[in-house]
């Protein structure tokens, strides 16, 4: 929680922390603009009526045309603005994938560095109350495979504020995945407009000596719950929240694994080809000699996400799954 220069904080919900970051950056930098569908109304709250508090020309409701406004954000970013666009649900990012994969991610490179593309794409992902197959996905793993994109996954209000500010100030395209189920979680958030959380710096959110758990986004709190219950069994879990997947804080992760010798990865996206696959491959290759057993991955089942609450619960990773994975990792399953 780096450059905090003032110590004042306020208890804010995750959605309010995001709102504050947006408001501050809109005020600090006249090139920051917001675009998205119904953002002035704001289904999850972060931008509700924000246009009334800032230069309203820079908070733009768009037609339902993800390709158009994300494409426009690319064009604006190439010509001096810092657009922050919202995809109402992360699942809809498939509709403007070309703008992200073939344009935003590659333009800096393809122009030989003639332009930068300082663009933030905010998109809420994750499970929330039977949102079903097209409104529940966690798609961050797809974008880890696209060079040129940075990826943030704030797991709490403080990081939400600090990472978003860094993302907006960053000169590269950043995908900023919020979590629908976290919007109403709250915490004491620094009010200093210069407070940021740098990209590429993981947080060790719980120290422990037996197993490292690498958990992203909404799974950080589940990992902590699992860790707390495992502590009662005498198992000390170290929980790492990467906060950004690109850039990835390898040193923090590797140091932890070198200490514990064991790694469990936890994410809400599905298992195959997920974040855990990359983390597992990376850690296994770089910390082979320190590993006491194979990395265990916890993730959603490899299937479309079901509507039925019963099926949804069975598909999603749970605290119990994490605890089970830790025990398995320790050979206690």
């Amino acid at each position: 929680m780096a450059e905090a220069t003032q110590s004042e904080t306020r208890n804010l919900a995750y959605f309010e922390a995001i709102r504050l970051a947006l408001k501050e950056e809109l005020e600090l930098d006249p090139t920051v603009i917001l675009m998205g569908e119904d953002i002035r109304y704001s289904i999850f709250g972060p931008t509700r009526d924000l246009h009334l508090e800032v230069d309203e020309r820079r908070v733009l409701d768009t037609p339902i045309t993800e390709s158009a406004f994300v494409g426009a954000a690319v064009g604006a970013a190439m010509t001096g603005l810092r657009p922050v666009v919202e995809i109402m649900f992360a699942d809809f990012i498939t509709v403007c994938m070309d703008q992200i994969i073939n344009q935003a991610a590659k333009i800096r490179f393809m122009t030989g560095g003639q332009v930068k593309v300082p663009l933030v794409v905010r998109a809420p992902g994750g499970y929330l109350n039977s949102s079903a197959a097209q409104h529940s996905q966690s798609l961050e793993a797809l974008f880890m495979h696209v060079p040129g994109l940075k990826i943030c996954l704030p797991s709490n209000p403080v990081d939400a504020k600090g990472l978003l500010k860094s993302a907006i100030r960053d000169d590269d395209p950043v995908l900023f995945f919020e979590h629908k189920a976290l919007y109403f979680s709250s915490d004491d958030v620094p009010l200093d407009p210069q407070f940021t959380v740098p990209l590429g710096q993981a947080a060790v959110v719980r120290e422990g000596s037996d197993v490292t758990v690498f958990a992203v986004s909404g799974m950080v709190s589940s990992a902590l719950s699992a860790a707390n219950s495992l502590a009662r069994e005498g198992i000390e879990v170290e929980v790492i929240d990467p906060r950004t997947l690109v850039p990835l804080d390898k040193p923090t992760l590797l140091d932890s694994v070198r200490k514990t010798g064991r790694l469990v990865t936890v994410e809400e996206g599905c298992l195959t080809g997920g974040v855990g696959a990359e983390i597992s491959a990376l850690v296994t290759s770089e910390a082979w000699d320190d590993l006491k057993g194979p990395v265990v991955r916890v993730a959603s089942r490899d299937q479309p996400i079901p509507f039925s609450p019963v099926l949804e619960a069975a598909c999603a990773p749970t605290t119990q799954d994490i605890a089970g994975a830790v025990r398995k990792c320790l050979g206690k399953a």
Binding site: E37, D38, R40, Y41, I43, D61, T62, P63, I64, T65, S67, A68, D91, F92, T94, V95, L128, N129, S130, S131, A132, A133, Q134, H135, R301, D302, Q303, P304, P306, F307, S308, P309, V310, L311, A313, A314, C315
Partner: protein
Amino acid sequence: MTELTNELVLRMYRTMYTIRKFEETVSERAGMAMIPGFMIHLYVGQEAVATGVCAALREDDYMVSTHRGHGHLIAKGAAPDRMMAELQGKETGYCRGRGGSMHITSVEVGGLGANGIVGAGLVIAPGAALSAKLRGTDQVTVCFFGDGASNQGTFHEGLNLASLWKLPVVFVCENNGYGFSTPQDKHQPIDRISKRAASYDMPGITVDGNDVLEVYLAACWAVERARKGEGPTLIEAVTLRWHGHYEDDDDEYRSAEEKAEFPKHCPIERLERDCIERGWASTSQLERIRSEVDKEIEKACEFADESPEPSPDEDPALIFSGGDR
């Protein structure tokens, strides 16, 4: 088919009232947390559109729906009991509880899916139409979508393809004046969406979407053109969305005055008046229909309530044929 018989008019009345009753029941049950999920988009106020259009269709015709799909599906002939079961996430639901409100469909009545992605159906529909054409049937495909969806790239691509290949599609834009919180004049620079048909050398017409008879007549004309191989049509049906965008929506972006106007345009009351005035039915006949429907919906609720939840062990054959992988 175009002829307005008493029987047809009463059938449409029954359909509209079934939709209304179903949706109001869903709204109630959603309020009581009996329906999982928070994105339940109701069709209240728009009943005349689905009803008029689907009355012009055969059972084996296809229908591509949207996130606001309950009304379309009822109009196409689906059973309220299996629909309610689906909304409640039960194994007896049309989609075995896997889909829910946003993905509800009954393929046996020609439904090719509600859809959680705005505009997605606009490119699926031409494919169903192409399929009918190549298989040598004369099935027609109807594609519902909203005013908001009419800006998506898929609108442009779908209409271009359908017209280029003279496919049997009827595109029905339900212009309820809003895409979620965004009024039409803030999402497109034109008033009449039917005007866009000219970009595809396609006929485009605007009808009063609160008048089921007008919708029906326009649909008959478009369906006949499609069935005869004369290509697609764009129908814009102007209507009103009475509820919030979805049930959890506080709908603060619309004023109380604006909302107070809605019931004045009630498509069901309008047909009631027409029925009486034109002698198609008596008040008591209509009343009888309503009470029959009330019972049907009550039974649908019982069916849903008593149905089992799916087993938490997912059926692998729903993911891949034969359960591969």
